[in-house]
């Protein structure tokens, strides 16, 4: 790749870095700035990071899989190191000093205390260019000034002053508002539309019918909404495609069934998790300006290039005449891999010949967004005479986990993510069943890992108790990976796991390895006589390899734990007759300030000799199991169905 696609030294000597990833609050803009500043030896505020602008950044497939740092850190560091070396070569020629005697300092290059030349002077005559070598040497660790240093978010001041501009805050000349008329059931098509009343309403610019999309463009948001509601439409019932179930073997060791049959102790259990909503605080939004010669799309999207292509195809423009500028976005945790709202705004803009902002209502966000699918996990294991897991049989039943729809090539790594346990087990059979659903499902934080790890880590806990072993020691008997072992032992140590607790309190353990990041957690809960679960404290050790911004890692991990505790205790998206029934914060409650644990303590203990891996998702993955295991420790109730509501916990307590 050419340097100018990645890093530009500006005429004032400041730096601009380019990446196709996008910022949803993960803190990657900050970490990328740190990486570039580190290698080029400048203060972080001298680096501007351009993210997700399809006219400016190199192609990127999308921001998911906790992959931003893992993928971009090496690329940005190499680019910056190459820029630094090229600048030093230019300085050598300028100063008449051999390059090996020169060094960088705060955006200048010189020989000790002698004459110095600034980056600005070195790019005055010609911009920095060249092909970035794959083996470009990086700045030695002794010279690092920014990697490993905790830093607040570079957007922090804009966020706390309200100056930060999110998609719905984009204001263009002539900006109009759009609203969409929705069928009562997903997939329904209009058989008759009477738009006379809507057209006569105040502020209405036009009523749009284009393919299956019906909407209104008006001067103000509430006018567009009122007119969309005034459209008189007959809808037909949707025809539902029913694809067959995909059966995907993830691991198939010969002799698994025989090993279970001959085991000294056998246990089986079934775990269930409901569909849950991404529940973004800011509903989906897009601003699109379609002109005769092209279009500009302002949106929060995980896939700027994918959105560009989808919009171009839909409005009939060449792809290279559509520009997507990814905006700051309310966190959507995967949901914005789907291009929906961007396409809606584009179609409305095309017909209205005005830039159009569409922002969904809260009810639309719940009812029409793709959601995390439900999961049913069936597991059977056999222990040998020494209490080790001899055989493991696991069937995962779920739906497609990506916005792109069913695809056998990616089923294992998406719907099957983390279905294979991280433990050394001689005989295992793990099978994924991706079943059809009429509901809209898609990418959500960690995809199926959160579901699978809930089942695996709950069941391992059950096996330990069934065989009279300590849950941590039992796990450790099956762990060969030194980094996972260290994270497990550290979290047990700092949480005093196994220590004595007051009545009705318990601690639970869970761990995982997710895309190269190791996470181990201990949750402490209190269970009331009525079955109400209160999470008091959570300890977490996370090892994501080389850490760029320790506070960024901690913040992401704390947030993942908090969000996951909310999934585990409160959340269930309910459906009725093919429609989402929970379409408000009343009916789909999430954790509030009152529910937040007393403390979430995250120890960032990355193995600096290992490559940087992601932290956006891993913290959320083991939390539900840690909580469920803590509930068992507190009151003896083994709850296998999420969410762990008061009624469910009470019933499990009284039934046992």
């Amino acid at each position: 790749m050419n340097l100018e696609e990645r890093i530009r030294v500006e005429p004032d000597g400041s730096l601009t870095a380019f990446s196709g990833k996008i910022e949803f609050g993960q803190g990657i803009r900050t970490a990328f700035a740190q990486l570039v500043a580190n290698e080029l030896d400048v203060p972080v505020e001298r680096v501007r990071v351009v993210l997700g602008d399809t006219d400016e950044v190199p192609f990127d497939f999308g921001t998911f899989g906790s992959n931003s740092i893992a993928q971009e850190a090496p690329a940005l560091r190499r680019a910056a190191a190459f820029a630094r070396r090229t600048l030093i070569d230019r300085a050598a020629a300028r100063l008449g000093v051999p390059a090996k005697r020169l060094d960088t300092k705060d955006g200048t290059i010189g020989d000790g205390d002698g004459k110095r030349v600034s980056y600005a002077e070195l790019v005055r005559d010609a911009p920095l260019t060249g092909t970035i070598p794959d083996d470009e040497p990086l700045l030695p660790q002794g010279r690092w000034r920014h990697i490993g240093t905790p830093l607040s978010r570079v957007e922090a001041r804009d966020i706390v002053t309200g100056r930060a501009r999110y998609t719905a805050d984009v204001r263009l000349d002539g900006l109009a508002r759009g609203a969409i008329a929705r069928p009562p059931v997903r997939g329904g098509r209009a058989t008759r539309v009477d738009e006379r009343a809507a057209r006569a309403m105040p502020g209405v610019i036009t009523v749009v019918r284009d393919g299956d999309l019906i909407g209104v463009v008006a001067e103000r948001e509430d006018q567009a909404r009122a007119a969309a509601d005034a459209l008189d439409i007959d809808w037909d019932a949707p025809t539902i495609d029913a694809p067959t179930t995909q059966v995907v073997p993830l691991r198939e060791d010969a002799g698994t069934d025989a090993a279970i049959a001959s085991a000294a102790l056998t246990r089986s259990a079934t775990y269930t998790l409901p569909s849950i909503a991404s529940a973004s605080i800011g509903p989906s939004a897009a601003v699109v300006d379609v002109r005769a010669d092209g279009a500009t799309v302002y949106a929060g999207t995980h896939r700027p290039f994918g959105l560009r292509d989808t919009v171009a195809d839909r409005v009939g423009l060449p792809r290279d005449q559509v520009r997507v500028q990814a905006q700051m976005s309310s966190g959507t945790y995967g949901r914005s891999s789907a291009p929906d709202v961007g396409v809606e705004a584009a179609v409305l803009s095309k017909h209205a010949r005005r830039p159009v902002l569409v922002q969904w209502t809260r009810a639309e966000e719940f009812a029409c967004s793709p959601n995390r699918p439900e999961a049913v996990l069936e597991v059977t294991a056999g222990l040998d005479g020494e209490g080790r897991i001899a055989a493991w049989r696991y069937d995962e039943h779920t739906n497609v986990h990506t916005a792109a729809g069913p695809d056998p090539r990616v089923a294992a790594m998406t719907s099957g993510r983390n279905a294979v346990p991280p433990y050394a087990i001689k005989h295992a059979r793990v099978v994924l069943h991706v079943e059809p659903t009429p509901l809209r499902t898609a990418n959500f934080r960690s995809l199926a890992a959160a579901e699978n790890v809930f089942a695996i880590e709950s069941f391992v806990d059950e096996l330990a108790h069934a065989s009279g072993q300590d849950p941590l020691a039992f796990r450790l008997r099956h762990v060969n990976d030194a980094r996972l072992r260290r994270a497990m032992e550290r979290v047990a140590e700092v949480s005093d796991f196994g220590g004595k607790l007051p009545e009705r309190r318990g601690r639970g353990f869970a761990c995982t390895e997710y895309h190269g990041t190791y996470v181990a957690q201990v949750a402490e809960v209190e269970v009331s006589a009525s079955g109400a679960v209160r999470v008091l404290r959570i300890w977490c050790v996370i090892d994501p390899g080389l850490v760029v911004n320790p506070d960024g890692v901690r913040n992401q991990t704390e947030g993942g734990i908090q969000q996951s505790a909310s999934w585990a205790l409160l959340e269930e998206l309910r459906h009725k007759g093919g429609r989402v029934a929970t379409t408000s914060w009343d009916t789909y409650p999430i954790a509030t300030f009152r529910d937040a644990p007393e403390s979430i303590e995250v120890l960032v203990e990355g193995d600096a000799s290992a490559p940087s891996t992601g932290v956006g998702e891993p913290g959320a993955v083991p939390t539900a199991a840690a909580i469920a295991n803590a509930v068992f420790a507190a009151c003896g109730a083994r709850v296998r169905d999420v969410p762990l509501t008061r009624e469910r916990v009470r019933k499990t307590m009284t039934d046992r």
């Binding site: 609050g25 993960q26 972080v44 505020e45 240093t149 905790p150 830093l151 607040s152 978010r153 570079v154 922090a156 001041r157 966020i159 706390v160 002053t161 309200g162 501009r165 999110y166 805050d169 502020g203 103000r220 948001e221 509430d222 529940a279 973004s280 605080i281 800011g282 509903p283 700051m328 309310s330 966190g331 209502t361 809260r362 700092v494 005093d496 320790p550 506070d551 913040n555 704390e558 947030g559 993942g560 734990i561 908090q562 969000q563 909310s566 408000s584 914060w585 009343d586 999430i590 954790a591 509030t592 300030f593 009152r594 937040a596 007393e598 403390s599 979430i600 303590e601 120890l603 960032v604």
Partner: protein, 187 residues
């Protein structure tokens, strides 16, 4: 319908439709987009502004009811370049991720501290209970409010610290740990 509103100390004359909410007028007529739309039904706190000293959901308040009242939005909390103590504290604690709910949280916290200079943790949780955050920064936000109030790390004002010596200081994440370095431009 012509209305005169007093927002962040300045008087504005606007002409929105009669049913317009205060949120719509702030965002669409006055360009004050720092107040966010979240739910339109007063359940999430994203749109909170201070009206006559109280944090209220601007999505539920008709603009015509805001006439002659003193309205402060997130844009009006700082005195020029000098941030409000709550704003400074949110930066110091890095109490944000996507930041969409942050305006509303800071408004609630500022309104709280104006009435109770040293609230205990339960009072902070109660005052901010209407502010939903999906990214999960509740713990950091509580510490930020404590920092702004000067009670962070004081007994009863912070979560219990972990037992001593169990982790190197640089990696500590709870009260007593070091706050992240601020960016130079934030100082």
């Amino acid at each position: 319908m012509r209305l005169v509103l007093i927002v962040n100390g300045a008087t504005h004359s606007v002409d929105p439709p009669p049913s317009a909410s205060l949120l719509s007028v702030l965002r669409d007529d006055l360009g004050l987009t720092g107040t966010r739309f979240g739910c339109g039904s007063g359940q999430c706190g994203s749109c909170y502004v201070i009206v006559d000293g109280r944090a209220v959901a601007s999505c539920l308040m008709p603009a015509r009811q805001a006439v002659e009242r003193e309205i402060t939005t997130i844009e009006g909390l700082a005195q020029g370049d000098d941030l409000h103590p709550v704003q400074k504290a949110f930066i110091a604690e890095d109490a944000m991720q996507c930041g969409y709910c942050t305006s509303g949280m800071i408004i609630s916290a500022a309104a709280l501290l104006a009435h109770d200079a040293a609230p205990d943790e339960a009072a902070i949780r109660d005052a901010l209970a209407g502010n939903l955050c999906r990214c999960g920064v509740y713990g950091r936000a509580i510490r930020a409010v404590q920092r702004a109030a000067g009670t962070r790390g004081v007994a009863g004002g912070s979560p219990p610290a972990m037992k001593k010596g169990s982790a190197p200081a640089i990696t500590r994440g709870v009260a007593g740990g070091s706050a992240p370095a601020m960016n130079r431009k934030n100082k």
